[in-house]
């Protein structure tokens, strides 16, 4: 059982800073997801935790102890890689057995022919076999143990990779986009399996993805990373409803949050809602915070440009009155139908309006006095 603590981790390759002072505490048994756009340094951070990459400064603590001078195998972490990284020449069984054999057998005992004759190997091998069979049946790959990785499907390979991480009962699981090579349907299924695995093992999971839906559905907490910095670390629902940063608001949620700049809002001739902070430069609101009203009745007015019917929801893309910018609106399928080309008014729930200043930082408490002015 282990909590992880990162203190001011910095990493640069040559002149380029990749990770810029990241501090993060991950609780014991937590499922934490690192999410961020491609190239923001997620994998690098994960590799630093694993010990595959050395940070330039800062400390990594696992279970309260500094592990900076420990090699990956001594850190009690297991890692699952994007392209599985199974040993192609070894059977599934041997793939699963490798982390156990390297730990429990001496180098001589591990030699192909000589090792078999050495004393002590037989008992260890028997124990290893039992453990692997248990892990394999848990992951439903028991019937594949004799195959080579090349003879498996993508989902099966991913299960083997999970199994290889699992067999030695590490305190920490690190996963670097483990589902990105799978097709959409399998991805959803494996998502559920990984969540179940986390629940059953109860150990700390650090999961890297650039898919915000994965982050939202799987994690206890999500760390949003951008350009080598952590923008916000919070529970998924808080990230969605209460983002601290405009970039977080824009990354989390699909379809994307609507953002209208203050200047644009004013230029549309619309009155600003009550309670807008003086520093507010951007007004943002989720598609479900907008109601459709008769044209001219809303704060903002526009023309429906297109209609996306997803069955459960209908999304309207509304072009604002001056033709600049669109707002996405979620409506219910049983609401009165809107067709493209119709002029509509948009009513925005003021409680769901998020304000950000020019630098993209959230503006919170609003003085009523100023709003009245």
């Amino acid at each position: 059982m282990a909590e992880i603590e990162l203190r001011d981790i910095e990493k640069s390759y040559g002149e380029t800073a990749i990770v810029k002072g990241v501090s993060l505490s991950i609780r014991d048994g937590e499922f934490l997801t690192l999410v961020g756009p491609s190239g923001c340094g997620k994998s690098t951070l994960l590799r630093i935790i694993a010990g595959l990459e050395a940070q330039n400064s800062g400390e990594v603590l696992v279970a309260g102890r500094c592990v900076d001078d420990k090699r990956p195998k001594e850190r009690d972490v297991a890692m699952v890689f994007q392209s599985y990284a199974l040993y192609p020449h070894l059977s599934v069984f041997d793939n699963l057995a490798l982390p156990l054999r390297t730990r429990r057998l001496s180098f001589a005992q591990r030699l192909p022919l000589v090792g078999r004759a050495l004393p002590g190997r037989g008992d260890v091998e028997k124990a290893i076999r039992a453990e692997i069979e248990q892990a394999a049946s848990m992951l439903d790959i028991a019937h594949l143990l004799r195959r080579k990785p090349g003879q498996l499907s993508g989902g099966q390979r991913q299960r083997v990779a999970l199994g290889r991480a699992m067999v030695r009962h590490p305190a920490v699981f690190l996963m670097d986009e483990p589902l990105s090579n799978l097709d959409a349907k399998l991805r959803v299924q494996m998502r559920a399996e990984i969540i179940a695995l986390h629940r059953r093992l109860g150990v700390t999971f650090v999961y890297v993805t650039h898919d915000q839906a994965e982050a939202m559905t799987m994690s206890d907490r999500v760390a949003v990373m951008m350009d080598g910095e952590l923008l916000q670390v919070d529970r998924p629902e808080r990230l969605y409803r209460d983002p601290e940063d405009l970039r977080v608001a824009e990354m989390i949620g699909s379809p994307k949050i609507n953002v209208v700049s203050r200047a644009h809002w004013v230029s549309l001739g619309a009155s600003l809602p009550a309670g807008i902070h003086r520093n507010t430069a951007h007004l943002a609101f989720r598609p479900e915070a907008v109601g459709i009203v008769a044209s001219g009745d809303g704060r903002l007015n526009g023309v429906v440009a297109s209609v996306e019917n997803l069955g459960s929801d209908i999304f309207l893309n509304v072009t604002l009155a001056d033709g600049q910018g669109t707002v996405v609106v979620r409506t219910h399928p049983d609401a009165s139908r809107s067709e493209a080309g119709r002029s509509v008014g948009l009513q925005i729930d003021p409680a769901c309006l998020l304000q950000f200043d020019g630098a993209g930082m959230r503006q919170r408490e609003v003085e009523r006095v100023e709003a009245a002015a």
């Binding site: 590799r47 694993a50 010990g51 595959l52 090699r71 990956p72 195998k73 972490v77 297991a78 890692m79 890689f81 994007q82 392209s83 990284a85 199974l86 040993y87 192609p88 020449h89 070894l90 490798l98 982390p99 390297t102 730990r103 180098f107 080579k148 990785p149 090349g150 290889r164």
Partner: protein, 310 residues
């Protein structure tokens, strides 16, 4: 009405397809004919000719010959020098192939793990491959000279008295084999270097997390297995090249002393062009070809079973 219109183009297309089928066949043959002609002209033709000659008593320069059945082969198998040449060739291959593969692999690993001067080392080790063997053989001849040669001088400095490498029955074949390794390992090295570049970093990472992070463990669990296909290619190529050993033998020892370094191809050349026994030489060629084909097939079958993953 519209349905009819719709069907008409399809029928027409079907008819046209029937009409062109025979034409397509002709076209297909036309398309493969250059390759086919070359194959017959350069490969099957000569082989057939050699097999034919091996059944005759033809001498180079004479205008007549007679079919003498398998007499050439009988003579060949009864000839102790043939057996000597065959065993020498096999010994030569048995030294050169592992030597070349190992040296090429070790040098490739060293080059890839040492930063800087990589390009220079790669080029330097590749030079022997680019050079002409018969010219280099002369250089080696002087290097191995018993009294003024560099090798024996160097040994002398260390207090070891060298031998007359190329004139000594015990060392002639070995010396030739070492020269063969020297000439071939650069090629193996280049192939291994490119193979090493293709090993995914994630496998090394996985091995490190799994606890296989020593040099030997990394070699055993990642590097060597991933080099399997390249190794197979290198082994087959090196084996083929060392079966063909000829230039160095011709220039340095002419198969001597006392047939100690006689090899198949040199034997073949001597019989055919020094003694002008074309029929006998052809029989030797047939045996040589059979051995090569047999070896390549078994080699490929054995190695393929172990190195193909996906």
């Amino acid at each position: 009405m519209t349905a009819l219109d719709c069907n008409r183009p399809r029928e027409a297309a079907a008819k046209a397809r029937l009409a062109t089928r025979s034409g397509e066949h002709g076209l297909a043959w036309l398309a493969v004919s250059p390759a086919l002609l070359l194959l017959v002209g350069l490969l099957f033709g000569p082989v057939a000719a050699v097999v034919l000659f091996s059944l005759t008593d033809w001498q180079l320069g004479s205008f007549t010959f007679h079919f003498i059945g398998i007499a050439n082969f009988r003579a060949l198998f009864a000839d102790p020098t043939f057996w000597k040449a065959l065993t020498n060739t096999l010994v030569y291959v048995a030294i050169v192939v592992p030597g070349t593969v190992l040296l090429g692999l070790v040098v490739a690993l060293l080059i890839e793990t040492s930063p800087g001067l990589r390009g220079f080392y790669r080029a330097a080790h590749f030079l022997p491959v680019m050079s002409t063997m018969s010219a280099m053989a002369i250089v080696w001849g002087t290097m191995l000279h018993p009294t003024i040669g560099l090798v024996n001088r160097a040994l002398g400095v260390m207090g070891i008295s060298g031998v007359n490498w190329l004139r000594d029955e015990r060392t002639a074949l070995l010396a030739l084999a070492l020269i063969g390794i020297w000439q071939g390992f650069g090629f193996a090295m280049v192939l291994f270097v490119s193979g090493l570049k293709a090993v995914p970093q994630q496998l090394y990472d996985a091995a490190a997390v799994d606890g296989a992070d020593g040099v030997l463990d990394r070699l055993r669990f990642v590097t060597l297995p991933m080099l399997g296909p390249v190794t197979m290619f290198v082994v087959i190529l090196t084996a083929k090249r060392s079966f063909e050993v000829f230039d160095s033998v011709r220039v340095l020892t002419q198969g001597g002393p006392n047939y100690a370094s006689e090899v198949l191809l040199h034997r073949l050349y001597t019989e055919s062009f020094d003694f002008l026994h074309m029929g006998y030489g052809a029989a030797l060629t047939v045996v040589y070809l059979a051995v090569i084909v047999l070896l390549t097939l078994t080699q490929a079958r054995l190695l393929e079973r172990r190195v193909h993953y996906s």
